[in-house]
């Protein structure tokens, strides 16, 4: 094993299709016009010495090391800033250049600590390499003069250090922060000798600055100035493995850089097609949870939730699961048990859980956490287009002219894609943001939304209809697209519907709290501004009309012809790493892999033959239905893999009651999560670093997950599910996850061409990947829709049943924050807590003032479902009448407040609209105290109690 090599070409690739031929050091080179001489040289294998250039950022020309000579031209131009030209003859190594470079390096080294042997970058330092490359043997100036070698280290960031004494002020970090990440947190402060990299204002350090810890600066640094603390502690890695991040739905590719079985650092992989070499604070740095002391490594059982856990062997734990589920089925019937697959686990693991339930349990009571996030996307897009997924790849954003973001906060929830989007916006694309809250995208450095529609929570469908009203009544329909690709009758009916007066911006705007002229302006911009791309998130789906709004988004894309090519499309931003994959793998109770209904005899028979088991043709229970059935007394046992339903699902008291009503709750997870407080069997799970498999990201991209260390718990999650199946009498003898993928490919038309061999060869593919598209499908619906003609559906606005009134006059909406992930089980167990150690309630100054609430005060938040207390943050990011919080911490439990109202088509919970009241409070409420006491009691482990 060795480190995965990556070539730094010095400057970004040119996208020109015109070619230019030149000569470099006697070799003819042909490259795209606009390519730098430095990159052209690298293409032929000639490495021009460089320090300030790296191919993730535009050339800068400050270090004066990459100079070249061009025949017939005066001087020694920098090869990084000089583009190629037809017929020029370039020399990269001459006596004159050698002398200049040596002189430059002498100056650099005269002001640099000579501690190479003990330096963290020893062996991976470009300054060291360049000193060698130019043949530096002496520094004539000495080291005694005024220098920077005694500068203090900034160690404020938990993950990396800034050692100013080693800084050569090449500005690579500053440019990476600007160009790659788009945060503009870093700058060069001072002039001349006083120039230094500075995170924000004079008094700031990295932690207090606007730095978002994406790691782009660390990645770009050519010296040890910016170094990972893990690297400083452990030393240089000796091998690396390309794998996929297990956080959000962007699915970034990383090199896991290892020393033996110890992870030294995660470095974003340049060839990763989703992230193109970028990362965020979670994927880059927040992997320490894998070794956290609270991670459970042994299986445990108990008779009741009142008892402490008892560590047992895998055989005993698996035997308990099988015997309990068999007992429950004998006593209460075949349908009395079920399970939940995880969007955090691999496709292969998810596939196995649904196979276990359908084939081993003999029913279809399988669901996935996608139920509570993007299930409306699957259903809504399938009805409109015929496919349950987004239409583009992430690269597509680079060709968008108008970007419409609705119900999504990508800078927090999908930060790496957000950086790519921001780059396009800085290059001139227009932006429309539809969100009750003033998210960062609305106004940030060098970006300002052309329209922000701060709609009242719960009015998405109405606003989308009003946009459509404007387009149809103002004659902005793309008639050619509609005529060619869409169902004409459906379009006519829909056009008549949206043209009705109740859908006009004037009527809708009044009800939704948005200026009608802004609705009209946004509609005109989207319809006429060139390539229009819609990006949406859970602010669309997690409503009682989630599916309706997804359909309305599809209508809007169809009526403007914004489908079937690059730069456009309907793009759901998926929450967790494998939400798309979990849905693809047949995790929903009504359908098998590839979104085929369980009642379809042909499909079901195919599975029955391969699995050797009869399958039920009836749909099973969805997650909320499982809770209801448990309380009704017909659902008695559940197997939950990698999901914390107690913290993530709405109306916590309802979930608690349902879990208490079950006789056997089996939780498979890394930690004793909140659901485990009500569990009878705990099966320790493995991390993404400890297993092989695949994740499918929000752009349908199937990426490999590669094992870099032995599972600390002893088994990968797919092996645990196989053991349960075997104990239930349903053998699944796979030797490796690649065999599971082979079976998926055999049974699923959109995956026919997928195999580990192909993924190893080409990196990743986007489904459909089959005979028609052997290397996958970056853009869907080119030249026609999968379902035939595009289907316009009537999307009548129906107000939610959740209403404000005198008792509950405010509307609560929920969301995520950059540093934390989902229920926080992983990120709360990392240093990311320095940025967000508790959930807070955002409240508008007017609402705070009338309630006597000051910034930082404890407040009690009550809804019809329950109440909790948390601290208030007064901000005008939210409109009067709207409050906002995150759901990352169990001790505040935002979902105590949320109700079990849900989407009409899919039962996706309505997290985004809850009527609430706020009153001053002295601290955590009674409910929280009782909950924490129960959690502490429930997490006792007998062996540890005895040891104490």
């Amino acid at each position: 094993m060795s480190l995965v090599p990556e070539t730094d070409y010095g400057t970004p690739a040119s996208k020109s299709t015109d070619l230019v031929t030149l000569t470099i050091d006697g070799q003819k080179v042909t490259v795209p016009a606009g390519t730098s001489i430095m990159r052209a040289a690298m293409d032929t294998g000639i490495q021009v010495p460089k320090l300030c250039a790296t191919d993730s950022v535009d050339s800068f020309g400050s270090c004066r090391l990459c100079l070249v000579e061009i025949a017939g031209r005066n001087g020694t131009p920098a090869s990084c800033t000089t583009p190629v030209a037809p017929g020029i003859v370039v020399s990269t190594q001459t006596e004159r250049l050698k002398q200049i470079r040596k002189g430059v390096m002498e100056l650099y080294i005269s002001d640099h600590p000579l501690d190479c042997l003990t330096c963290a970058a020893n062996g991976d330092c470009e300054l060291q390499d360049m000193a060698g490359a130019v043949g530096l043997r002496d520094v004539r100036y000495g080291y005694e003069g005024e220098n920077h070698t005694k500068q203090a280290k900034d160690e404020s960031n938990p993950y990396f250090t800034f050692d100013a004494s080693k800084c050569i002020v090449c500005s690579r970090c500053v440019r990476a922060c600007e160009e790659v990440q788009g945060t503009f947190a870093l700058t060069i402060q001072g002039r001349g000798f006083d120039s230094k990299v500075s995170p924000g204002a004079m008094e700031d350090n990295f932690l207090s600055s606007e730095c978002v810890s994406c790691g782009a600066c660390v990645q770009a640094c050519p010296t040890a100035t910016l170094s990972e603390k893990s690297l400083i502690e452990i030393g240089q890695p000796e091998h690396s493995v390309v794998t996929t991040c297990a956080y959000c739905g962007v699915g970034c590719s990383f090199k896991a850089e290892m020393r033996g079985e110890e992870l030294v650092r995660m470095v974003p992989y340049k060839d990763g097609k989703a992230n193109r070499g970028h990362s965020c604070v979670k994927g880059r740095f927040a992997w320490g949870y894998a070794n956290h002391k609270e991670r459970i490594l042994n299986p445990m059982i108990r008779e009741s939730i009142e008892q402490p856990w008892r560590e047992v062997s895998w055989e005993e734990a698996i035997g308990r699961v099988a015997s309990e589920f068999k007992r429950l089925q004998e006593k209460h019937g075949r349908l009395a048990v079920g399970g939940i697959t995880s969007s955090r686990c691999t496709n292969e693991e998810t596939y196995l859980v649904q196979k276990l339930i359908r084939g081993g349990f003999g029913n279809n009571n399988v669901d996935t956490c996608a139920r509570v996030c993007h299930s409306p996307t699957g259903f809504g897009l399938s009805q409109a287009f015929g496919t349950s997924a987004g239409t583009q790849d992430f690269d597509s954003v680079e060709k968008a002219d108008v970007i419409l973001v609705i119900g999504a906060n990508p800078t927090d929830a999908h930060p790496v894609f957000a950086s790519r989007m921001k780059k396009r916006l800085r290059a001139g694309a227009k932006l429309i943001v539809i969100d009750p809250r003033r998210t960062d995208l609305v106004r940030m450095p060098h970006i300002e939304a052309d329209f922000h529609l701060p709609l009242r929570p719960g009015t998405n469908a109405a606003i989308m209809n009003a946009l459509a009203h404007t387009i149809v009544t103002e004659g902005l329909v793309n008639e050619k697209f509609v005529r060619e690709f869409c169902d004409r009758d459906a379009f006519e009916y829909w056009a008549a519907f949206v043209s009705e007066p109740q859908n006009s911006p004037e009527t809708v705007g009044l009800m939704a709290g948005v200026a009608p002229e802004d609705i009209r302006g946004a509609a005109r911009l989207y319809a006429t501004g060139g390539n229009g791309a819609i990006y949406y998130g859970l602010g669309v789906t997690e409503h009682s009309q989630g599916t309706t709004t997804v359909m309305a988004i599809a209508n809007l894309a169809m009526v403007t012809g914004n489908l079937g090519r690059e730069g456009v499309g309907v793009n759901p931003l998926r929450g967790q790493n494998n939400v798309q994959g979990a849905c693809d793998m047949g995790s929903f109770p009504h359908e098998l892999t590839g979104y085929r209904h369980i009642s379809d005899d042909t499909t079901r028979t195919m599975f029955e033959k391969l699995w050797g088991r009869p399958l039920d043709s009836e749909p099973g229970l969805r997650i909320p239905n499982m809770f209801d059935a448990a309380l009704e007394g017909t659902f008695k046992g559940i197997y939950v893999q990698g999901e914390d339903i107690l913290q993530s699902d709405p109306n916590t008291s309802h979930v608690v009651a349902a879990l208490k009503a079950m006789e056997c709750v089996v939780v498979q997870d890394l930690f004793l999560n909140e659901t485990a407080n009500y569990a009878h069997v705990f099966l320790p799970g493995s991390t993404f670093l400890e297993k092989d498999g695949t994740f499918t990201n929000a752009e349908r991209r199937i990426n490999r997950v590669r094992k870099v260390m032995t599972p600390k718990n002893g088994l990968a999650d797919w092996e645990i599910t196989m053991a349960i199946a075997k104990a239930m009498g349903f053998e699944m003898p796979y030797k490796h996850p690649s065999e599971i993928m082979d079976e998926i490919a055999l049974l699923t038309p959109t995956f026919t061409g997928v195999s580990y061999d192909l993924l190893d060869k080409v990196g990743s593919v986007q489904w459909p990947c089959n005979e028609k598209a052997p290397l996958g499908t970056p853009t869907m619906h080119i030249g026609g829709f999968v379902r035939g003609k595009g289907n316009f559906l009537i999307t009548e606005y129906v107000p939610t049943e959740e209403r404000t009134g005198p008792r509950f006059p405010l509307l609560l909406t929920t969301g995520r924050i950059l540093s934390q992930y989902n229920v926080g089980a992983q990120t709360r167990r990392t240093d990311n807590v320095v940025w967000h150690d508790q959930d807070v309630l955002e409240i508008h100054p007017h609402d705070a003032e009338v309630r006597g609430v000051r910034d930082g005060d404890w407040v009690k938040l009550d809804s019809r479902a329950g109440g909790t207390s948390l601290r208030a943050k007064i901000t005008d990011r939210v409109a009067p009448g709207v409050v906002y919080t995150t759901f990352h911490h169990p001790d505040t439990q935002a979902n105590v407040i949320t109700t079990d109202f849900s989407d009409w088509a899919t039962n996706c919970p309505e997290y985004k609209v809850t009527a609430v009241q706020i009153t001053p409070s002295n601290g955590p409420g009674e409910w929280q105290k009782e909950y924490n006491a129960q959690a502490e009691h429930s997490r006792r482990i007998a062996a540890k109690i005895a040891a104490e």
Partner: protein
């Protein structure tokens, strides 16, 4: 919505929500749309419960939904 809604009440609410989507559709039969959606996505015990609720008078069911549930019940009985 308070902590726990009665199972029947919740099913009635869910069925009416489905009805509110299909009723304004101007292509096809809305009642058939409602019935098909319930048939495709509700597990047998949920369907049995809504049939039983219909047998007891179907309180709270909107008219197209009532028709859809009745049609579905009849179709399943003859299957």
């Amino acid at each position: 919505m308070s902590g726990h809604m009665a199972f029947d009440d919740k099913l009635v609410m869910m069925a009416n929500q489905i009805g509110k989507f299909f009723t304004p559709q101007r292509q096809g039969d809305p009642v058939a749309g409602i019935a098909t959606h319930i048939r495709k996505f509700w597990d047998p015990r949920m369907r049995a419960a809504i049939y039983a609720h219909l047998d007891q008078g179907g309180a709270g069911l909107d008219e197209p939904v009532r028709q859809a549930v009745a049609r579905l019940k009849q179709a399943e009985a003859h299957h």
